[in-house]
Symmetry: C2
Subunit: 205 residues, 2 copies
DNA sequence: GTAATGCTGTGATTTCTGTCACATTGTGAG
DNA sequence: CTCACAATGTGACAGAAATCACAGCATTAC
């Protein structure tokens, strides 16, 4: 896999260093990449697949923060790496996923030497911060029906597919709700002709 | 006001530059420092007073994100400044507030030249990110009674005073709830001997 | 003083959501 | 085909919180 095409903004010198120092690694769908309380030894750049960043509640519920796709990186791991602190969130491979692991020790050096890395890191901070803000907006100001619609749209946007292959239970977990509520709301959406429901699959119209 | 004592970690060279380039500015209690959609021309370091960072909903409700006190800086303004994007949040002086405004153009330069500035920025990102995470935790997983307790405790922590001089309405706004609900919950807390209620003032026990 | 206004307390009602219970349907293993 | 199981549909009920209505007090303006 030619990762340079996924990060075209990186300058030549930076690419060289990464080529020499970073480790490419594969995770299978379902693998936990980072867990709450764990120390971070490297930052992950996503090359392929999808990573789910979520917060676990006491009962094991997985409250979705956002997804990371190819060309993106985990802001939390960057911050934690630089400060060698533990993370407060969980990261899981949603699909089979290919990542580039950048060792912590390199971070400071890359920041100083390579403008394109610096820009990338800042850009990552900003977009994750914005994403968190929109999560807050949704749970603070919106009811479950609106949150569900937002969730479905976002899922379609991030995966690129127009159908959503999830059970109602999985969606309920992501939204910290219950299956019955999601089922009912989806039925209502179907009556409004917004979706078409199938087993393990939802079609957005 | 000698701001160097508030940022003792800054190195001499950095202090010199700030001394030459930054502008000290005063806001009165209630002044809006930054509003949604506004372009950011500088980053604010808080010297004295308190700034409330919040998100406004459609009806003008002010949902509290966090407070900034002396020695802290607004992560959002840093990110926005560097990328010259508009902000998604509001900032308001809660008390009379003294800030140091660092012009955007300096940011890149400071990041490259001064390790202590770089550390400060990273530290700021991390702590604001964490704070946002705990906001998400609260609204996603906790009921209003727990959120209220958390809110009161945090208020006492950040202000340093053991009494909270706010009306029930203001608290309700911060939590995106309604006055009646907050009044009732406070009454219950009083019955449990956790607080003592007065007009425009709540005493934490 | 009186009036006006703002803050707080409280009941009644409604809406949203979570929970329990159970029926139905689709799918895959044997 | 039949059984087992997972996914989905649905009614009944419970609890949290929002909303409405209004009363009692404290404070300020006059």
């Amino acid at each position: 896999m030619n990762w340079k095409e996924i990060f075209p903004q990186f300058e030549p010198g930076l690419i060289e260093v990464i080529e020499k120092e970073a480790v490419q690694r594969r995770f299978n769908a379902g693998d936990i990449i980072m867990r709450t309380g764990q120390y971070i030894k490297s930052t992950a750049l996503v090359l392929e697949g999808q990573i789910k960043i979520y917060r676990e509640n006491q009962d094991g519920g997985e409250f979705l923060m956002y997804y990371l796709g190819p060309g993106q990186a985990c802001a939390v791991s960057m911050i934690c790496a630089i400060q060698s602190k533990t993370s407060e969130i969980m990261a899981k491979a949603e699909e089979d996923t290919e990542v580039l692991m950048i060792p912590v020790q390199l971070m400071d050096d890359l920041m100083n030497k390579y403008k394109s890395w610096y820009q990338f890191v800042i850009q990552t901070y900003r977009s994750r911060f914005d994403e968190l803000l929109s999560v807050v907006d949704n749970i603070a100001f919106r009811n479950m029906d609106e949150r569900l619609e937002f969730y479905l749209k976002r899922h379609v946007d991030t995966t690129g597919k127009k159908s959503i292959e999830l059970s109602h239970q999985q969606i309920a977990d992501d939204l910290n709700s219950s299956r019955e509520v999601i089922s009912r709301l989806l039925k209502k959406m179907e009556q409004r002709n917004l979706v078409k429901l199938h087993r393990n699959m939802i079609e957005l119209i």
